[in-house]
Amino acid sequence: MEKEKISGIQLFLLLLGFLFGSTVILGPAMGAKNDAWLAIILGGATGVLLMQVYVAISLLNPSKALVDILREKMGKVAGNIIAILYIWYFIHLASLVLRDFGEFICTVTFPETPMVVVIAIFAFILVYAVNSGIEVLGRLGELLVPIIPLVTLIISLSIITVRDFTAFLPVLENGMSPVLKAAFNFVTFPFGETIAFLMLFPHLNKKDKLKNVVFLSAVTSTIVVIIVFFRDIIVLGSDLMSRSTFTPHLSSLLIPGLNIEPLIDINLLIGGGIKISVCIYAAARALSQITGIDDYRKLTGAIATFCVVLSIWGFGNVLELFIWSEKVWPYYSFPFQIAIPLLLLLLSLIKKGKSPNAGTKK
């Protein structure tokens, strides 16, 4: 049993912050250009379903985190190997988000600050947050995450004067396949990434709330992303939108009379910060469970250091990062986000049927 507990609303906000993560600066599903809204709806719906799969896994294995579930359902050896792969995946995810963050800040806000400095300082703060424990993270989410939709709303309302409401036309100019592709990308980024939350679900104080909390957060984030998309396309037009590196930032620049682009930075700090913290937490936690170390806090420093190095190591430049995220990430994530969880769900259902009280120690 987990000693630390977070409430339903805290989990909801943490999930929301996680889902916004780097989506708030990248604008997902842009591959579909004008039809991105369609891709967002499709991907959002699939994402909601996928997250319910994670919920089902967690509910079928009450008060067990991902590593325990893996070991129990797949046997100790296979379970451990897959768990180690997951740890790698979480670390990699954290490093990708760190890199997104670094690229954004270094492109937009501090162009002459070396990226590694930006990333390292950010990571340092996040290690502190993670070491403070999941309850603190939960409260942090409660305090900060509501700012993200608020800022989005402020920006959207401020530029409502610059308008071309038919900009999203024509519908399906290039057929369905780019839409489906973008929808798949949107499922794997960000919805599938919430697999990391399988390490957090056991902390929820009321299990019966889990389903609704997860459902609501997925739906809310889809709605916000759609709003952001329509705002961006109305303001920028599809051509410029697909050309720009950080779309929401560009539209925030167009607010007449005042300059509130730092608000986008704040969004990223909050969303990205929560996402990275959750990933580092999940990785450290999983690693400590596998190796039988009593406290995950001993490993956060090392893992975070590795994340920072990996984020710099990973890509030569921002274009490599974007192309990789768009082309490779969905396929790379597929086993972690979809295949293994589905397998786990299946195994959980079978074992549940066999012996309802099957419980192992640890």
Partner: protein
């Protein structure tokens, strides 16, 4: 280069002090140094201006090998 070494020295010194004080089991040290050594090695290579091929590229190559991507 010197800065990288200095940063790592400070980090490791700080953590080790805690570990030794609390008399941690050996596996903590092993895992800790696994991560730190990997980070340090890569950082030194990066600082020297020689970027080793990254995990992102390995994964891409792997996926291409399996045939998921073209």
């Amino acid at each position: 280069m010197a800065i990288v070494l200095a940063v790592f020295a400070v980090l490791i010194f700080y953590d080790l002090k805690e570990f030794i004080r609390k008399k941690e089991p050996a596996r903590v040290f092993v895992i800790y140094f696994l991560f730190m050594a990997a980070s340090l090695a890569v950082s030194l290579l990066l600082a020297a201006g020689r970027r080793p091929s990254s995990p992102a590229q390995w994964i891409e190559a792997l996926l291409k090998m399996i045939g998921v991507m073209q």
